[in-house]
Amino acid sequence: MPKDYPSMAPTWQRMQHVFRDTFDDETLDLHPETTAGGVEGWDSLTHIDLIVALEREFKIKFTTAEVTRLKNVGELAALIDKKLPVRP
């Protein structure tokens, strides 16, 4: 878990779980600056599998524009956090 995202700790752990499941790699460690190029098998095909898995996990919906704008995992985490209902 990155120290720049302490408030996102639960989001980050759930994201990491979804990533490991999608890419079938139990050793995968996410960093905010991780990009598609840095993960084996992350192409436009698996990208949408990942998006669908994240939508299911967090019960949220992404738009095409949001999905194409993302630059790295940090931005993805920030976007998910923005979409989650505010915690008490």
């Binding site: 079938d24 192409d43 095909l45 095409t64 524009a65 704008r69």
Partner: protein, 474 residues
């Protein structure tokens, strides 16, 4: 102007000198002027249309951005409407090619239309999706759309990537010319020496069987790769002469060990483009439809790649075959991955088998890409397995001189593959940065001698009249 014509090389040399003399703040304007001069040598009318489309796209993106800032509902349709119009413009010319008169009201297909409409569409969509702010300098934007090294045959550079490089850095002329030299060698030495044999076999498909057909089956992918990657090398090298780095188009495609890996290495700028602007939106729209949605998105995407080359049955079959390969790959990928993780001993043989199958699948689809008609493709594939006695090329009337050139082309190809395998570790490249003057100058003179020797070889052993680039017609 053809990219291998001496006049084009002289034009580039003149541009290199002028670009160096040009003050940095005028370099984008200089680039624009040179690009339009290049385009006007082909057709002034088509250059005017290009200018008009550029201006329209520039204003549309600004209008769309303003509408979004004002919260107006127009923001939702301005971008997509412009994309539909641009796609219709491209499709109209592709459809017109099918008519006997060739062209709309006597207008020929504008040079590089497939490439510049794709650049305009990606710009409009990037701004529409908020990925990129609308460009405020018409000059910079026009220089991007008309950038002459990439207008004939790509690579298709994204607007954000290009515009971020303006005003251009000082040019790296040495690196540029080295890349152009590599491209010329691939084209004149390899592709054009493999070409005559492939052309001969495809022109005599019905009277040949066995070995010569296998020869064409294996050689055409190599010819197409040498030809198209050579063209890309010249485009990237010419870009460097102006301080612009373009995107790579190939990454040793025939080393791929599965079909999706192949498409990550072949014509990458087009595949990535369609991936971002066709596949991802389609896949997002069909993501609840499970495997059917996946298969439909892949099929539409690959058929679009096929038909982008032209509206013909051969390109359609090419697209459909690749969709079938990719759907199979996508649906079995997870299972294969698990199998190889559980059986590591099979990993090596599996990789080799994957490589073998991938190359043959690619070569099979390319038969439909190359053959003049579906009938000829079918005849070639049937003839491969014909039990009739082996027919020889020479007996069918193939010139012996061309057989020697073919051997030269194959040797050149082997050299190319070896070079791409080991080039990154080339120890000589470091000498350039050596501080000792005599070492540096020995390096320069050796490079100059080798270049002169290579050019002389190309003139003697290259084909007398270079064939047009295969990808320059799309």
């Amino acid at each position: 102007m053809n990219f291998v014509a001496p006049i084009f090389l002289l034009f580039l040399a003149a541009c290199t000198v002028l670009n160096r003399m040009c003050p940095a703040r005028f370099r984008a304007a200089f680039l624009l002027a040179v690009s339009y001069a290049f385009y006007c040598t082909w057709s002034v009318g088509a250059a005017a249309v290009l200018a008009l489309l550029t201006f329209a796209a520039f204003r549309t993106a600004l209008a769309g951005e303003r509408a979004r800032a004002a919260g107006s509902s127009a923001a939702r349709w301005i971008g997509p409407a412009a994309v539909v119009l641009l796609a219709a413009y491209l499709a109209a010319f592709k459809i017109a090619l099918l008519t006997p008169a060739h062209g709309i009201a006597g207008l020929a297909m504008p040079l590089g239309i497939s490439y510049y409409t794709f650049r305009l569409i990606s710009y409009i969509l990037d701004v529409h999706w908020g990925k990129l702010p609308a460009e405020t300098s018409l000059l910079n934007f026009a220089a991007y759309v008309a950038f002459f090294p990439q207008i004939l045959a790509g690579p298709i550079q994204r607007p954000g990537d290009f515009l971020a490089q303006l005003p251009p850095k000082p040019a790296s002329a040495g690196a540029g010319w080295a890349r152009i030299g590599l491209g010329l060698a691939k084209k004149l030495f390899i592709a054009d020496n493999l070409g005559p044999a492939v052309n001969f076999v495809y022109a005599h498909v019905s009277s040949l069987h066995g070995a010569p057909l296998w020869l064409a089956f294996y050689l055409y992918p190599l010819q197409l790769y040498a030809d198209f990657s050579g063209l890309t090398d010249i485009a990237l090298g010419a870009g460097r002469l102006f301080g612009i780095e373009g995107p790579e188009n190939f990454n040793r495609p025939f080393t791929a060990s599965n079909i999706s890996d192949f498409w990550r290495r072949w014509h990458m700028s087009l595949t990535n483009w369609l991936g971002d602007y066709v596949f991802v939106p389609l896949r997002m729209a069909t993501r609840q439809a499970g495997n059917w949605g996946l298969a439909a998105s892949i099929t539409i995407n690959m058929v679009a790649i096929g038909l982008w080359h032209g509206l013909s049955a051969g390109y359609l079959v090419f697209g459909l075959l690749h969709s079938a390969f990719l759907v199979t790959d996508a649906l079995t990928g997870r299972r294969r991955c698990r199998f190889f993780k559980a059986h590591p001993a099979w990993d090596g043989p599996g990789r080799w088998l994957g490589w073998f199958l991938t190359f043959h699948a690619v070569a099979l689809a390319m038969v439909f890409f190359r053959a003049p008609a579906l009938g000829a493709a079918a005849a070639l594939l049937a003839g491969l397995w014909s039990a009739a006695p082996v027919s020889s090329l020479a007996a069918a009337g193939f010139e012996p001189r061309n057989l020697h050139l073919l051997a030269l082309g194959i040797a050149g190809y082997a050299l190319l593959e070896a070079g791409e395998r080991w080039r990154p570790d080339l120890p000589l490249a470091g000498l350039r940065h050596c501080g000792v003057r005599w070492v540096r100058w020995s390096f320069y003179s050796a490079a100059a001698l080798l270049t002169a020797f290579g050019l002389a070889l190309m003139l003697v052993y290259g084909t007398a009249a270079p064939a047009p680039f295969i990808y320059a017609i799309f």
